[in-house]
């Protein structure tokens, strides 16, 4: 399929710009653009066809089952898209005076109240733009808190099952990382933990349930260990979908929580964003929250920038407002019924686990929560078929693969999260596909090694992509990789 630049023809255009009969002043010579940018010159019909063709080559939750572990690929309600298009939201300038933005400020304040109730922690900032930014914000809050108390702490503890953003956030915040092991039940290894937590520990970063889909049965003891050391506990909200209305991170002992609005609360993933990563914190951390904060004064709402202890600002304005509209709208469809949402998510995952546990290796012999991890190590050992092969073959069944090779503690891992919006028939279809793939591993493994067979492209040469690093269209000088390849077949 051609790039849009390859469809460009001189003189074509889609849009027009008014001139109002005015003449533009000259740009000072030393600042003037010398050569026009080579943006596409294309008509509107072809523009629409180009992006329609691209959409046809892509798979979303709207297309089919998408069981990526820890991503919570649930249905994205269309009412939310209508909501963000309401002119009073869509066309509101963020510098509008507060008396002209009361509806927006009230929506944000209400969302804060809801997230506080779900998290079990009273103070909320909506500012962070994504979960990983929420993590960084949380770590900055820890820094500020301990600096304010005159305590010198420099380490953060994470489990070896941690999502990759956790260690990266730790580094960006200027902390050192200490890893703790997972025991045979899939819980934090408490002996290892006790050995590694001391007066230098600033805090823990944990998601609960973990990336193994297991609720940490020792969480109360974990909390005692950290409180005993005067450290804080940070909750990575990636797996919150499992516990809404059932258990709250604040009640588990966590002091800071980030929530992924694009996971638990239905902001569409958009191919890689936008998202939202608000944080909820215990009262003693409230003064350090980013500025401005949305506050209520009687029946008025305003942005409070008078925050002398705030860590500062992590994103423009008060956060990604359009994301708040969608998540708020989503939560208002459930109310206290968020509990039913989580129960259905957990039921769906356990059903799949029950149906797949014989054909695949199950590393932890427990009920899971909203997601679970299988290992393909048995079929790798017996038939040379890897988790990657399983993932690629699933595509031929019209199913998006689960997460593979994560968490790192499970070899040939397949991390599966169905979410609550899948019907039983969809789940049964997935089971049938996975069981067939297990049979194919024994009977015709080459079918799996060469998979997928029915997608617009088959397996890619990712080594060449990294070596050649062709990251933009080179126009006349663009290398012709296909022609280079032709000689090698």
């Amino acid at each position: 399929m051609e790039l849009i630049f390859e469809k460009s023809r001189p003189g074509r255009r889609a849009g027009t710009v008014p001139s109002y009969g005015l003449t533009a002043p000259d740009v000072p010579a030393e600042l003037r653009r010398a050569h026009p940018p080579r943006l596409p010159e294309i008509s509107e019909p072809e523009l629409v066809r180009h992006f329609t063709a691209l959409a046809d080559r892509n798979f979303g939750v709207d297309t089919g089952f998408y069981p990526l572990g820890s991503c919570t690929m649930k249905h994205n309600p269309r009412a939310n898209e209508r909501a963000v298009g309401i002119p009073g939201f869509r066309d509101l300038h963020p510098h509008q005076e507060e008396d002209g933005a009361q509806g927006a400020l009230e929506l944000m304040w209400r969302l804060q109240e809801i997230l506080a109730e779900v998290a079990g922690l009273p103070a909320v900032s909506l500012q962070p733009a994504a979960g990983s930014q929420g993590e960084l914000t949380g770590l900055m809050l820890m820094r500020a808190y301990f600096a304010d108390r005159g305590e010198d702490r420099d380490t953060i503890v994470t489990p070896d099952t941690a999502h990759g953003t956790n260690p990266a956030s730790v580094t960006m915040a200027g902390y050192k990382l200490v890893k703790v092991g997972t025991d045979a039940r899939g819980n934090l290894d408490l002996d290892d933990l006790r050995a590694k937590v001391d007066g230098r520990t600033a805090g823990l970063m944990l998601t609960n349930p973990s990336t193994l889909g297991l609720f940490d049965e020792g969480i109360e003891e974990v909390a005692r260990i950290f409180k005993g050391a005067g450290a804080l506990m940070y909750y990575d909200g990636a797996n919150l979908n499992a516990v809404c209305g059932l258990s709250r991170p604040g009640d588990m002992g966590f002091d800071i929580v980030h929530i992924n609005l694009h996971k638990t609360f239905s902001q569409p993933h958009g191919g890689g964003g936008p998202g939202g990563g608000p944080v909820a914190v215990r009262d003693m951390l409230e003064p350090f929250l980013p500025s401005p904060q949305v506050v209520r004064d009687g029946d008025r709402f305003r942005l409070d920038s008078d925050r002398p202890k705030s860590i500062g600002k992590v994103r423009g304005f008060a956060g990604p407002f359009g994301v708040f509209v969608r998540s708020y709208a989503y939560i208002r469809r459930y109310g206290p019924g968020l509990k039913e949402m989580s129960e259905a998510a957990v039921l769906n995952a356990n059903y799949l686990l029950a149906k797949l546990r014989d054909a695949y290796d199950v590393p932890y012999d427990r009920h899971c929560m909203h997601e679970f991890v299988l290992s393909a190590r048995n079929i790798k050992r017996d038939h040379g078929v890897s988790a990657l092969d399983v993932a690629k073959r699933l595509m031929d069944f019209g199913i998006h693969p689960p997460t593979v090779y994560f968490p790192l503690v499970v070899p040939e891992a397949l991390m599966i999260e169905p979410t609550e919006t899948e019907t039983k028939e969809r789940l049964d279809e997935f089971v049938a596909a996975m069981l067939q793939i297990a049979r194919e591993a024994a009977e015709s493994p080459e079918l799996l090694h060469d998979a997928p067979h029915v997608r617009p492209v088959v397996r890619l040469d990712e080594v060449k992509a990294a070596k050649r690093a062709i990251v933009k269209y080179g126009f006349e000088q663009h290398p012709d990789l296909a022609a280079e390849m032709a000689g090698t077949f």
Binding site: F5, R13, A14, V17, L22, T23, A24, P25, V27, P36, P37, L39, E41, F51, P77, A83, V84, G88, D91, L92, H93, P94, E97, A101, G103, E106, L107, A130, G164, T171, G174, H269, G270, G271, G272, G275, V314, A318, P320, F321, G322, R333, G335, K339, E340, V346, A354, A391, K392, M395, F406, T421, T423, V457, R459, L460, D461, A466, V471, L481
Partner: protein, 443 residues
């Protein structure tokens, strides 16, 4: 319950397959002491119709650009968003897809990101662009992180004429990176190259804005040369929509170009979501944070696209990552690509010319009151009102006009100055109305 489908029959079958009598058994792994044990204290569920009524009521209390003639800018702009953007973004295959980790399922998103990367490089004159950052503030922090590692210096220089929110975000990130920040004051609305050069000694990075926060055109080539001459990375924070008439940062010696992409095809939406862009010279490719899409072939020799240099990202390199960014702003970057393709090079140039022409028209109508009279501008003009700007705004709004941003909120000595933005959506008649209203309220 909304969006759920499990019937009693489904539940019974599934519980039987799992081998438990009730859903509660699945939650036994949660220790009693941390179970909520009560209903969530939230308002009852609304139907879709009730929900929309509630949201419309909230929205009705926001004074949006349909309800008020607004000259607000200051980083977020009221440009026309063509309908093709709405149409393409509403395709479920783009809207509801995840990050394209499985390239065979995601060639649509991957190719569109590759095209976006190309467009950003073309506009900025750079060799590599990432797939987007959170917004125009955080990409400045990203640039500082790159500079810290490549220069091994610890000083960041920011122009005071750089957007105040961008500066605040950089200062928030700096302590964790081990960086110190210094600011170079503006002089009559722009940055003095001599002062700038002095400040750049031992700096890792020096960031200026073009056009700057006041709408004035900075001596950008001189600022870039001054920084680079003392070993600091020169970074320009730019407006994509100015790059049809203003020179590309890569053409005048910058190491990187960053900015806020909202003006290219995203509605203002009270500040987000939008996207930040980050583009750099080739030598920084392995230090770029976030996602990058590269070109390759599949086993059949077909051209194909995939995420590349992923080892640099959070999920493999973990504690040594170039950044922790995962979810970025792909959908809005797609909006940017669609918008820029809709405009084309001709349209982009015309847009820049119209904005500058309207700016000149505004200066002519409000000529006596320019705060920085001798400076060339792009689409914003700083106007002295002679009266506290906050009061001017309140009085003007009573007449149905929002006259612009009060610069005194961020800058000393500018308490009576308004930053007036004129995009291609403002007409000469509307500017006449602004002049009329300002004359009334400033006496």
């Amino acid at each position: 319950m909304a969006f759920l489908s499990l019937t009693d029959a489904d539940r019974a079958e599934m519980l039987a397959a799992i081998g438990v009598g009730s859903i509660d058994e699945l939650f036994e792994q949660i220790p009693r002491g941390v179970r909520l044990g009560r209903e969530l204290d939230l308002e009852p569920a609304l139907s879709e119709a009730e929900l929309m009524r509630h949201l419309e009521e909230l929205a009705a209390r926001n004074v949006h650009t349909g309800a008020e003639l607004s000259f607000l800018g200051a980083g977020i702009y009221d440009h026309y968003v063509p309908a093709v953007v709405d149409a393409i973004l509403s395709r479920g295959e783009f809207l509801t897809a995840y990050t394209p980790y499985q390239p065979e399922m995601s060639q649509g998103v991957l190719q569109s990101i590759f095209e976006y990367q190309t467009a950003i490089c073309e506009l900025t004159g750079m060799d590599v662009s990432n797939a987007s950052g959170y917004d125009g503030t955080t990409v400045a922090a990203d640039a500082c992180f790159i500079a810290k590692h490549t220069t091994e210096r610890t000083k960041v220089v920011l122009a005071e004429a750089l957007n105040p929110q961008v500066r605040r975000v950089v200062k928030t990130y700096a302590p964790g990176f081990g960086l110190d920040v210094v600011e170079v004051p503006h002089r009559g609305g722009t940055t003095d190259p001599g002062e700038w050069r002095t400040a750049c000694a031992d700096a890792a990075i020096a960031i200026f804005q073009q056009p700057n926060f006041f709408g004035c055109l900075e001596p950008a080539p001189e600022l870039a040369a001054a920084a680079e001459s003392v070993g600091a990375l020169a970074v320009a924070h730019v407006d994509l929509l100015s790059l049809g008439v203003l020179e590309a940062p890569g053409a005048y010696g910058c190491a990187m170009a960053i900015g806020e992409g909202q003006s290219a095809g995203t509605f203002m939406s009270y500040g987000g979501p939008n996207f930040g862009f980050l583009a750099a010279r080739d030598e920084f490719i392995r230090r770029m944070p976030g996602r990058i899409v590269g070109e390759t072939t599949d086993l059949k020799g077909e051209r194909a696209f995939c995420l590349t240099l992923q080892t640099r990202e959070q999920h493999i390199r973990r504690e040594k990552a170039t950044s922790n960014i995962t979810t970025n702003q792909t959908l809005l970057a797609l909006a940017g690509l669609v918008y820029l393709s809709w405009l084309g090079p001709q349209g982009l140039r015309e847009l820049g010319e119209t904005c500058m022409a309207l700016g000149d028209y505004t200066k002519a109508r409000l000529g006596a009151q320019l705060a920085f009279p001798d400076k060339a501008t792009f689409k914003e003009i700083a106007i002295r009102t002679g009266r506290n700007a906050g009061e001017v705004i309140a009085a003007a709004r009573e007449r149905g006009v929002h006259p612009g941003y009060a610069l005194g909120r961020d800058y000393e000595g500018l308490d009576d100055v308004l930053l007036v933005a004129v995009t291609e959506r403002r007409t000469p008649t509307e500017i006449d109305r602004l002049a009329e209203v300002l004359a009334e309220v400033t006496g």
